[in-house]
Assembly symmetry: C2
Homo-oligomer: 187 residues x 2
DNA sequence: TCAGCATGTCAACACCCGTTGACTTTTTTT
DNA sequence: AAAAAAAGTCAACGGGTGTTGACATGCTGA
């Protein structure tokens, strides 16, 4: 790897960590440069602009590959891994945090939305077949994440709790079989 | 109403509209002042600071009163009204949008979280009895809102669709009866 | 060795931010 | 009508923002 490739990589890693947790507008280029041990000017040089670096980090998001799945049920495991297990590994932020921390900013929410659609939304639609159920599963994951990370609600099992993953899995399966429109009758 | 009360009111209305839709850090005091036809300096004068105005707008959020409910089931109607019907009235932003558009900003997410807890979270806990189910209902509403407003997912019935409200109601009722930990068995 | 390119450094740019204090205007009270 | 209080105006402050271009340094091939 050439020298410049190495500094590009450093900027990407630092940008990823900061952008993904605090959102585009809440992180400054100088802060990223300092975290990457690199001069600020190099961000504009190598990525064109702050936004360019942001979009480059989005490219590093893991994606769902429809080829890997034969049934919708198999998807649940992958989603739990992608949205819950992986983010807990050191250095890997939650994909959902990105969505949330950029929700209010029109400039950054658009590339985030596009990345989500391309990397997860469309593959999930393809696997599940029904866009409504696919959307509902996304909604379930997002809802729990917001409740846990933003509102800091008690009651939902803590992420450290071994029951947490099972609970999310159950919610996803419920979403998968949830009868949409008209409303279901419940006891 | 005295003259100053009127301009305070104008600032609150403008701040409400802008803060609640675009988030604290994505709105400038000059923009609010212009929208309220008022000088910028008056924000600091009347509310102490930008943050002071922000917190003052949060006080105008509608609240849930436990006195009004005898059963958890009655709550579903109120939540749908509060989070779905009311925001569609002109000038009233969604309470959920506030949560989302401030999720990435540590400074503003704290007062938002506090307001949420005081106005909705605790009353809901009181009515439902089980904090886990209460949290799950919040999560359901949030998830659907993010899917609809942020990710712009297709598949979930559009807000204009008469089926939309019934669908949300069904989701809330499902959350209310959803068996948490251990995972439920589904067909 | 020296030219040429790649890479990194630095200071400055124009701009926007929230906040402040001195000032003028308007309203109310004496 | 004069004095006092309230309300509003304006310019400037220090500081942070992303971006740029001139310059210095490093490395590489002729």
């Amino acid at each position: 790897m050439s020298k410049s490739e190495k500094t590009k990589e450093n900027l990407l890693i630092a940008g990823q960590r900061l952008f993904w947790t605090r959102g585009f507008s809440n992180v400054s280029v100088r802060e990223i440069a300092q975290a990457a041990n690199v001069d600020v000017a190099l961000i504009s040089r190598y990525f064109g602009s702050k936004r360019g670096l942001f979009e480059a980090t989005l490219e590093k998001l893991p994606a769902i590959d429809p080829e890997d799945f034969e049934s919708a049920e198999q998807l649940v495991d992958a989603i739990v891994e992608l949205f819950v297990t992986a983010p807990r590994r050191p250095g890997e932020a939650s994909a959902l945090t990105i969505i949330l921390s950029n929700a209010g900013d029109p400039e950054s929410s658009e590339p985030v939305r596009e990345a989500f659609r391309r990397k997860w939304g469309e593959p999930m639609d393809r696997i599940i077949g029904d866009p409504a159920k696919s959307a509902l599963m996304s909604a379930a994951m997002i809802g729990v994440s917001v409740a846990e990370k933003v509102l800091l609600l008690q009651g939902i099992a803590a992420p450290g709790d071994p029951a947490y993953e099972a609970q999310l899995r159950a919610m996803l399966e419920a979403a998968l079989t949830f009868e949409l429109v008209p409303a279901v009758e419940l006891a």
